[in-house]
Symmetry: none
Subunit: 209 residues, 4 copies
DNA sequence: TATGAATGAGTGTTCATTCAT
DNA sequence: AATGAATGAACACTCATTCAT
């Protein structure tokens, strides 16, 4: 009656459902979103959801997958892999935060909600590991003369953690994207110091004028 | 039956219940833990839980409160506030990660689960903000000659995010505490570089004296 | 199992449920009737009750509404509004008591139970007030030369109260409907007396012409 | 601590408890009043209630008994049994309604609530029957020349029902006691008519001047 | 005498999921 | 292809009642 009784091609229906699901999951969380609510939001009947996605868990998984893909594609599209590693990271950070900024409702929140169900610890961890790997490789190739014993993987962990934290700020609208990006880039290439403390001076002599 | 049917003074029962609740919430998450399960774990009857804590939500809140307190107390106890800011941060990082390492089951996991229910987004955010504030002040006082316009608050956000990420690694047992602590400390005082790449130098000229 | 697992149109199920609910509420009262018991009586599952009526309270309200409607319709149908007021009242009393007699299980008992929950004191009071109003108007138009200052509303209160009391007797089967009706009619048009006692005469002199 | 740890003689404690119980039952009804609430109101511990009254049901029964006794005693005390039947009824009605008016919170409400639990249909019915009997005897002796076949018992039922209805009005404070009493008395001795309708005239010729 | 501590049993309610059409 | 109708299973929460002190 209200526009939902049409026969639609599978692909369209799928997106319609995922849109609704992402929307609801994002706002209310995994457990606090009912299949009824999703069906209503999608303006279809509940059995359709089960026909297409089998279960609530699978539906949430599909949401995660789609949003993750979109995220990765968007960031990849913004990156020129022929740049220097430094520029690469820089561009990546901007691309990452810009995506978050432009898609506040979906990715970050959904991503956060994913930890709600034990069933997705797995998925989320895997996704994060992939990003960490990527960042780790970026760091490795971007650092000309690493200190011996530098654990780039752990650095990547920290960087990604910081990125998530900043991204969360961005997603709430509390922070300007480019300001945040600059800060992150600076922070990670140069640490906290503007002018280093005494001890720092010995370790890292200021760039000569 | 199993030796738990005795009369216990209020304070003891409270801890017994919180222990059970933290345990179950940590492992299974907020929504996937039933009050029945907690009662069984605590070897008491369900009405006791309600008598002492009023509702599942309040019980979870009490768990958060206790674990947060313990965490804060533990970290505070390890810190000598007469140290230089740099040493202070350093000690704090170690204390923080050591606590996580020694209490893997409780804090980090519970903290993570807290985001599951909309009702605790609030609490968790507030807690994190306090820590960010603290770190921000530490940074402010630890940096001798900051670049003009440095946003220490946002830096603190990033640092805390990185800390959480590293802590998560620690809590899964994948990482040695002291190694992780060194990395974080170095990272934040000195950035990623051993020596900066040539290009870095050109990109970010030092503030002119 | 017992022939009730069929798909039924909404309207049919609604009546089926209300029948069961009225039955159980009538026999056991509001608080002492569980939703489980009603579902069992209706040979459906509990969620259906909630799907159709939302809550126990609303279900009970729906019962009251339906029974009240039936009652009012039945009495109305028996009355010829072109009669003289006296005959009108007379017919109404008979109709009222006949309905009660023919529907012992439902209305009176349900009506009585309705006072059990604070939530329905309201509804019941309102219903009774409407009837009192009606009766009051009947009395007003049925009395040719009322004594000055006659409070027909309060009279209606008393009459309705008496009616309820007599109806209760009828509903237990202790009394014949027509006998009871005659008594009530006589009582209210003529008072208790056959012939007044001497003393009465002195106490209540007739309104002087 | 708050004045409830004293050792009190049994009789005092009993009243203290009944006072609290009547108060709570009256306001919230039988099922919607918890033993906890009563204990709190009485400023004693719950086991005391059970020690003295055995169960909630028995406690409510004790409330009913006490209030009924008080009511009967109060009405009896106001009546002079040497009066003429007419005056007797008249005085009784006034006494009855006055008691209700002076004890709004307790008797009527408690009496009404008594129907909430099937366990008290019995008690209440018995109490009402006694009153009906009494009234019936009053009527019998107060009517000099009854019409043949007059069913005084059923009349008493109606009169008591009317009395309850009017009493309810009184208990809500909507009606003045003496006005209500006059109405009831008139109503039952003389019926509704001021001047009778034609038909009435033949049956009950107006008192000659 | 008096009570803080404790619970068995049950209630209303919700939700993911499936069947019959 | 699509859905209205239906439910099994579980969950949060409450209460009358009793025990150990």
């Amino acid at each position: 009656m209200a526009g939902g009784t049409k026969r639609l091609p599978r692909a369209v229906r799928e997106q319609q459902m995922l849109d609704a699901a992402v929307q609801m999951f994002s706002v209310n969380g995994y457990h606090e979103t009912s299949m009824d609510a999703i069906a209503a939001q999608a303006e279809i009947s509940k059995p359709m959801l089960y026909l297409y996605y089998g279960s609530k868990e699978e539906l949430f998984g599909a949401c995660l997958d789609r949003e993750l893909s979109r995220f990765v594609e968007s960031v990849r599209a913004d990156i020129d892999f022929t740049q220097s590693p430094k520029d690469l990271l820089s561009t990546a950070v901007v691309a990452f935060l810009s995506y978050i900024d432009a898609n506040r409702a979906s990715w970050i929140v959904l991503y956060t909600q994913a930890t709600s169900s034990q069933a997705f610890a797995h998925t989320v961890r895997e996704g994060r590991e992939k990003i960490i790997d990527l960042v780790g490789r970026l760091l490795t190739s971007g650092t000309r003369h690493p200190e011996p014993g530098t654990d780039f993987d752990m650095m990547a962990v920290a960087l990604v953690g910081a990125g998530e934290a900043v991204a969360n700020r961005v997603s709430t609208g509390d922070t300007d994207v480019h300001e945040a990006a600059d800060l992150m880039i600076n922070l990670f290439w140069r640490g906290l110091k503007g002018k280093p403390t005494d001890k720092d001076i010995k370790d890292t002599p200021p760039t000569p004028g």
